[in-house]
């Protein structure tokens, strides 16, 4: 690694350090909270907590209380139950739509095939005109 590389990298990291000082206060606060949560598990006899993701926080309704092991388990359980339920309902809905479409196509095919009118008639340009003229 040349000295030029080192100098260039040093300049870049100086600017990066300046960038970390400009972190928004909301973000800095959340980082501080994350650190406090991590350090809380250092205390003797402290229960181990699963990290709470943004998604889990949303499902938990933004509550910030100490839920401990059982709380995390229930949050996680509810989350997965919700996801599975949504997936199951979506899958069932799609299956129902496919069955409906197939049934409609089958009915159309059956009507066309059992009709006295030959299929070629539908392609005839004059047929539609003739039909409209015959309507009262």
């Amino acid at each position: 690694m040349t000295d030029d590389h080192e100098k260039f990298a040093k300049k870049i990291t100086t600017y990066l350090d300046a960038g970390t000082a400009e972190i928004k206060s909301g973000t800095a606060y959340r980082l501080q909270q994350a650190r406090a949560a991590a350090l809380a598990s250092l205390a003797p006899g402290a229960p181990r907590r699963a990290p709470q993701t943004a998604l889990a926080r949303a499902f938990a309704g933004g509550s910030s209380g100490d839920s401990g092991d059982s709380g995390s388990f229930w949050i996680s359980g509810r989350l997965w139950f919700g996801i599975l339920l949504i997936a199951a309902v979506s899958f069932a809905f799609q299956q129902w739509r496919v069955v409906q479409q197939t049934r409609e196509l089958e009915e159309l095919d059956a009507q066309i095939l059992t009709s006295d009118l030959p299929i070629d008639a539908y392609l005839d340009r004059g047929f539609q005109t003739w039909l409209t003229r015959r309507e009262p």
Partner: protein
């Protein structure tokens, strides 16, 4: 020469280490994910893993261990995102669209008080913020491994062996990635008219 078990990190040392590293860790996660919530989750996850699994290690080992955990957590995020994207594509017909406004946090609009007085002049402050933004954008565009190597070597000041251990690759690879990263950054910044 006395040989004994290495001195283990005290809670104060761990706390001090996390306080010193949290902002850089957040920035690293941001460069990789470009997602504020994901970056915060990654840092929180990495901190918890370090404290829960490696609190009994010597303080000198914490930087390398934390960086390794952080990089792995970033990879895990991308793996999970891949699975999630598969489901999202599958269920896209039921999507509700943009929910960004729900995440608006008024606190985010306030910048934290800067700790340095180097850029007290508004013009200089603006200029510095502009340069920082350009550098951060350039870093985000680097290939993941190059960015990782560059940040570990120069920003986290790990030596080549430690960076290689944190990245799970050879020392030669770290040197190559670093060299390429420096060249790529210099090119990108030069293309934007920025000479450092």
């Amino acid at each position: 020469m006395p040989f004994g078990p290495p001195k283990l990190a005290t809670p104060q040392e761990i706390s001090g280490f996390l306080a010193a590293v949290e902002r850089r860790a957040y920035k690293q996660a941001m460069f990789a994910t470009r997602d504020n919530d994901a970056a915060l989750d990654i840092v929180q996850d990495a901190m918890l893993k370090l404290v829960e699994n490696y609190a009994g290690k010597p303080a000198a080992e914490l930087p390398m261990l934390f960086q390794r955990i952080l990089q792995n957590t970033i990879y895990d995020h991308f793996r999970r995102q891949k699975v999630r994207n598969t489901w999202t594509t599958l269920l896209s017909a039921f999507g509700k669209g943009d929910e960004k406004d729900d995440d608006y946090d008024p606190l985010e609009t306030l910048a934290a008080k800067t700790e340095s007085n180097a850029a007290a002049d508004p013009a200089a402050q603006y200029e510095q913020a502009h340069v920082v933004r350009m550098i951060e954008q350039a870093l985000s565009r680097l290939p993941a491994r190059q960015r990782e190597a560059f940040l570990l070597r120069y920003w986290e000041e790990l030596d080549v062996a430690e960076a290689a251990a944190a990245m799970g690759c050879s020392e030669g690879s770290v040197k190559t990635h670093c060299s390429r990263a420096v060249h790529a950054l210099a090119e990108m910044l030069k293309a934007k008219g920025l000479q450092l």
